[in-house]
Symmetry: none
Subunit: 210 residues, 4 copies
Amino acid sequence: MTLADHAAPAPRPGRRADAERNRAAIIKAAGEVFAECGGGVDVREIARRSGVGMGTLYRHFPTKDALLVTVLERQFDAWLTDAYQWAVATEDPWRALTGFFEQLLDTQAGNRAVVESFATTGGPSDACVQRCYAIIDELRTRCVDAGVLRSGVTTEDLFLLSGSVSQAVLTTADSHPGKWRRLLRISLDGLSSRNTEPLPEPGVGTDARV
Amino acid sequence: MTLADHAAPAPRPGRRADAERNRAAIIKAAGEVFAECGGGVDVREIARRSGVGMGTLYRHFPTKDALLVTVLERQFDAWLTDAYQWAVATEDPWRALTGFFEQLLDTQAGNRAVVESFATTGGPSDACVQRCYAIIDELRTRCVDAGVLRSGVTTEDLFLLSGSVSQAVLTTADSHPGKWRRLLRISLDGLSSRNTEPLPEPGVGTDARV
Amino acid sequence: MTLADHAAPAPRPGRRADAERNRAAIIKAAGEVFAECGGGVDVREIARRSGVGMGTLYRHFPTKDALLVTVLERQFDAWLTDAYQWAVATEDPWRALTGFFEQLLDTQAGNRAVVESFATTGGPSDACVQRCYAIIDELRTRCVDAGVLRSGVTTEDLFLLSGSVSQAVLTTADSHPGKWRRLLRISLDGLSSRNTEPLPEPGVGTDARV
Amino acid sequence: MTLADHAAPAPRPGRRADAERNRAAIIKAAGEVFAECGGGVDVREIARRSGVGMGTLYRHFPTKDALLVTVLERQFDAWLTDAYQWAVATEDPWRALTGFFEQLLDTQAGNRAVVESFATTGGPSDACVQRCYAIIDELRTRCVDAGVLRSGVTTEDLFLLSGSVSQAVLTTADSHPGKWRRLLRISLDGLSSRNTEPLPEPGVGTDARV
DNA sequence: AATGAATGAGCTTTCATTCAT
DNA sequence: AATGAATGAAAGCTCATTCAT
């Protein structure tokens, strides 16, 4: 049992089959609709696309926001899990870290809602963020131990980097898909231990221009 | 006359003075409101804060979006100009480039609407983007000539980097102001010529993990 | 057999025992819920509290309103019976009449749905009203025979009086419980034969001010 | 200046004429609709009937409830004023008191919303209740001074009596209009000083049957 | 016969935009 | 030209009733 096992679909026993099917349909449809249109879409669109009535939707999720969070969590969690599993199986610590980021960003490419969540809430949900932190921290530690990571780089730095590049992923999704990979590589290279200059302290006033 | 002179307020001749004053008041208020609340605010709030009626507002700007674009353009343009002027006056090409980014990001720190614009429209407006591109290209060329920039880095890469870090600026604005500077430094360091590995081609399929 | 025997639970022969149990549970729960919250409650709350599913509830009662009426009838009927039995056993005709009202009002104190029914439907149901009328008429006749009732007072007057005071009972239920008893006493005293002025005729135009 | 001057229509100076007309139309329509259908009606019905859009309605009243309260206050206040003015001009204290009640009840006959308000909120609004209390108290004092009021009768008793009879007014509005006048007379006669028995103390346990 | 999930019209409220004054 | 009231199409959410299991 590692960090990577995530909330299973949880097929509660007494649940009727069609209810479960509907719930799944809602989550699926919501996942697509939120991804395409962002969190601002009309709930009706999700109901329509999932083939259920409004009441059914609201039976399964008490508010639109609850649905959004659920969907984002599931999506992000799944991506996180995949990327983590790949990373764990990778020998080279550096490649594990960078590959993890690339894979994670790759899967969330063009998902408006997920990317929005980084800008508005700081991430899909606290639980997701926690889990992401834990994973990044693990990968970071391996790099530190191997001496390949720039000194002073924190987990927060890495998380922030990931969320920030995800915006670039969305920006370029339509016009220049894949271009973000160059940006990611650039930023990651700035993380290698070949960069020896100290990073600025978190204090506000630091000014690189000086 | 250089790249940096931007669209002046354009005092159209036949215009009555108070109309011009109103227009200015609207733009000022909209700038503040959009910055604080993002592009989703109620137009009424802008009218209220600028002290004009809704009709006046809509006389000057046909749609909310037109107002938003106008405001973003002016703000971004001003910041761009400032940062550019500083950069032009800086001897060291590398410092000019990095300082330019930091200054630009610093001024837009916490401006919700501007940052949103990068995620949704790819930038405040096409004109802004063009101008930003031109400036970045100029600074980039200086670095290339001085041999301090990683080979293969394009203007697009740099622009994308800027837009992406701006998201981090917003994300951390409340909780950890200034933390984005570390991220910026990291990314910029990935741009130095000490990084010799080739960047991935823009093609979609490239996979850093391999 | 007197006026007072009311519709028995009527255990229809072919009925399965659990069906009867469910029906009883529904009526019990509905009685409580309607009393507490009034007729506007969500039917779900009743289903929940009675421990049956919505389908079962609607199998026993075709509409929410049918359930409401059934419940009100049963409750009111029971109270009516109790109050009547007490009144019948009371020698003094005046005390029988007044005590009947007080007892009836006392039991329905705070039952939102019953009181609402007087305002909206004129009473829990036609059958209830009929029965109540019959009882009141009986008690009234005794008073008339004994010469203690104001001349011209009709059964309708008395029924109306009861329904009207019931509102006061509800109004004061939380803040001043029991205060309605003063109001009841006042009104009842207006009914005594010591008041000799003729009551206004039912015609609309009568105006006490003239 | 007496108790009876009530909030004037308040034609705020800068207000546009049509806005005032709309506001009036809304209040008028709402008054009718609420009176006919009670507080539960669809707001759309009021918008339709007053000939304005939903937005206009909500511009004038922030919530449905605010509209309801405003309407009830105005209506009740107007009735209160009328009845009070009549009462003040009446020499006979007893006739002033009883006539006041009759007139007040007469005007609110069949107004569902106002009557509902007594059952749910205890009255149209706190301000209304205060004013009503003050008026009743004044009329009551005159009766007490004249020695025509039953000893121990409080203003609260009288207010409660009024609210309670108003239910009867509503109940009989359609089937037996005017019948409530008999009930009112009965109750009022119970208030005359010819009734010498002490009223029950407000304590809960008092039982008239004993 | 029992269950509780599904339905969808209907509710209150918001807000970009138009238009009478 | 300026004002801000008016508009009405959504939007999020509820709940009496039906229906598949």
